[in-house]
């Protein structure tokens, strides 16, 4: 009998707990179905040399990064310095997938200007005018960053602009770990 009056309180606390859990979950972080699976293929023209193509299969045998970006994307500008530093320090080959950029019909004047101003950290920039390679990679919103292992398996997806803490605590340890794995 004494315990009975505590039931509403317990139910209320349970509800609060559930709601708190709901608040701490970011609904924009959709779990990527690609993690643990082979990287989706594409073969796209390169920004600086449209006659040549760059494909996912070119990266086989190396730990590499795919970074989806666009010149119209403000968060991409925000992450650019952090990402450039990571690429330079770890010497990690990175493909920039230029997603639906303006003026990409004539191979990306805006994208070229963006890289000329901010610096080009990429090993190669693939031009995805129609955004179809983006969909193949399950794009929700740029920027998105994927890390692939030597076998070409997607091992990690970062949604949104990368920040220094995530680089130091997650990306660099992961890259170091993946580099030790046998190809």
């Amino acid at each position: 009998m004494k315990v009975k009056f505590l039931i509403p309180l317990a139910a209320f606390m349970a509800l609060v707990g559930l709601m708190y859990f709901g608040l701490s979950n970011d609904p924009k972080l959709i779990p990527s179905p690609f993690v643990g699976k082979p990287a989706p293929q594409f073969s796209l023209p390169r920004l600086n040399n449209p006659d040549e193509t760059i494909s996912v299969s070119d990266m086989k045998g190396e730990v590499w990064i795919l970074n989806l970006w666009a010149s119209w994307c403000v968060s991409c500008r925000a992450e650019h310095a952090v990402l450039s530093k990571l690429i330079a320090e770890e010497k990690i080959p990175t493909i920039g997938l230029n997603y639906k950029d303006y003026g990409t019909e004539d191979y990306g004047d805006d994208a070229k200007k963006w890289l000329a101003t901010l610096g080009n950290p990429y090993y190669a920039v693939a031009v995805d005018t129609k955004g179809m390679a983006g969909i193949d990679w399950g794009v929700v919103g740029v920027p998105e960053t994927f890390v692939m292992d030597k076998k070409g398996i997607v091992r990690y997806k970062f949604t949104g602009p990368v920040y220094q803490k995530a680089v130091d605590e997650t990306l660099i340890p992961l890259i170091k770990k993946l580099r030790k794995e046998s190809p």
């Binding site: 959709i30 179905p33 639906k100 969909i135 193949d136 990679w137 399950g138 794009v139 929700v140």
Partner: protein, 159 residues
């Protein structure tokens, strides 16, 4: 009369605005009505991952448009409902479906509501049953006896 004609013509002129707006909505041609039906059904059931509380049909997001176009392309190539759903879930996971499949991690989603309904119905019936008991048991014969004697005394007092 002249006033009426001007008003009528003025009103009529608004009809001309409609086609201009309709151009914005991408119109798709289908080979069969069944394909069109499938397309409409799919874009209502697939979720826009960018603006998460809208389906593909409702959303104005660029990505939703691309996903609608992809759906159309797949259907036109003769893709079935399962083909399109597989294409989308391969890329976006079950998240893209407004009708999630029955799986281990969606168990609570599917089983939860009926379970909660049964629990609350059970509690409700128990509560109603308890109330009935209280109503019938309030007056015992002793209670009635003492009540009568109380009434008698009070009525004689008033006289």
């Amino acid at each position: 009369m002249k006033r009426f004609v001007t008003t009528f013509l003025f009103t009529l002129s608004f009809l001309l605005l409609v086609p201009a707006q309709a151009v914005k909505i991408a119109f798709h041609d289908f080979k069969t009505p069944a394909q069109e039906q499938l397309y409409l059904q799919l874009i209502a059931e697939l979720r826009c991952v960018k603006c998460q509380n809208q389906n593909l049909a409702e959303s104005n997001a660029e990505l939703a448009k691309d996903m609608r176009d992809k759906t159309y392309e797949l259907i036109l190539k003769g893709g079935t409902r399962d083909d399109v759903v597989k294409y989308m879930t391969d890329r976006y996971g079950d998240f893209v479906l407004y009708k999630p499949p029955f799986k281990k991690n969606t168990l609570l989603l599917w089983v939860g509501p009926p379970v909660f309904l049964f629990i609350s119905l059970f509690l409700l019936f128990r509560l109603i049953k308890g109330q009935k008991k209280e109503l019938t048991e309030t007056l015992s014969s002793d209670d009635r006896e003492s009540m009568r004697s109380l009434l008698k005394t009070s009525s004689s007092d008033n006289k």
